[in-house]
């Protein structure tokens, strides 16, 4: 459960969202990612670390370099996160429709 909360915190930061967008296109090394920002390498490394810990990114060793790419498992958790919220509204609106329909019929009688 803690993991889920962290996933949400992870994507609440604009820099981390940009990193996700970058690596979504293709796997990248930390230095290639850092080149897209004005922040220090260290700052970007910290963001990458958080994203990795939350299962949003995964590492892949290619020769001497480490590449980061999207982790579908973590990204699915974000989609799942919205689902209970959507379900809550779906239930609510289904009730609204049923209640109002019964009132409509009462009305016509």
């Amino acid at each position: 459960m803690k993991l889920r909360r962290d996933v949400f915190q992870a994507i609440s930061d604009p820099t981390r969202r940009t990193i996700i967008t970058l690596v979504a296109a293709s796997a990248m090394t930390p230095s290639a990612i850092a080149e897209n920002f004005d922040y220090s390498r260290q700052t970007i490394s910290k963001h990458i670390q958080i994203l990795t810990e939350c299962d949003l990114l995964k590492q892949e060793q290619k020769g001497r370099e480490i590449y980061y790419q999207l982790n579908p498992k973590g990204m699915k958790q974000i989609a799942d996160f919205i689902e209970p919220f959507r379900k809550m509204w779906e239930d609510r609106f289904n009730t609204l429709e049923a209640v109002m329909k019964s009132n409509m019929h009462e009305h016509k009688k």
Partner: protein
């Protein structure tokens, strides 16, 4: 089954949009929000106050086994019958929940209509808190269920 209710959470924003099409004439859909009796029925809540007019307001309270479990209130800024309601919404004891709501009612056919609710939060973080709510609520339910099972074991 097709998902009738859609939630749009624009990346990096502080708003979210809920859309739903109903097999109801738009007048009836609007009434579900405008008349206290209907609100109480479909929301399963007690309507303490509903002044459905420009510069009006509302107060809802839901109890479960004698305890108040949900209390919400807001200011109704503007109402346009069968078209629009602009209001604020706040869950008491949850200051992060205060947000602005634009409810747009749209006639599709004589018997169908569409509701679009645009919710605007103070910040992206506040929006995230709201998205987490049903999740937390689900956990709560699971916890209560567990308590029940444990009680029965005694």
């Amino acid at each position: 089954m097709e998902q009738k209710t859609k939630i749009d959470v624009p990346d990096g924003g502080q708003e979210l949009v809920i859309t739903r099409e109903f097999n109801l004439p738009v007048e009836l859909l609007y009434k579900a929000y405008a008349e206290a009796g209907f609100v109480a029925q479909w929301m399963g809540t007690k309507v303490l106050k509903l002044e459905h007019r420009n510069h009006g307001g509302y107060e809802f309270e839901t109890s479960h086994e004698g305890k108040v479990v949900f209390k919400a209130n807001g200011t109704i800024h503007k109402v346009v019958p069968n078209q629009q309601i602009i209001r604020t919404f706040e869950m008491e004891n949850l200051p992060s929940s205060v947000h602005l709501e634009f409810l747009e009612f749209e006639k599709l056919t004589n018997d169908t209509s569409k509701l679009t609710i645009q919710m605007i939060y103070k910040s992206e973080e506040h929006r995230a808190e709201q998205l987490k709510l049903p999740f937390a609520y689900g956990l709560n339910l699971a916890h209560n269920r567990l308590e029940e099972i444990l009680k029965n074991l005694k």
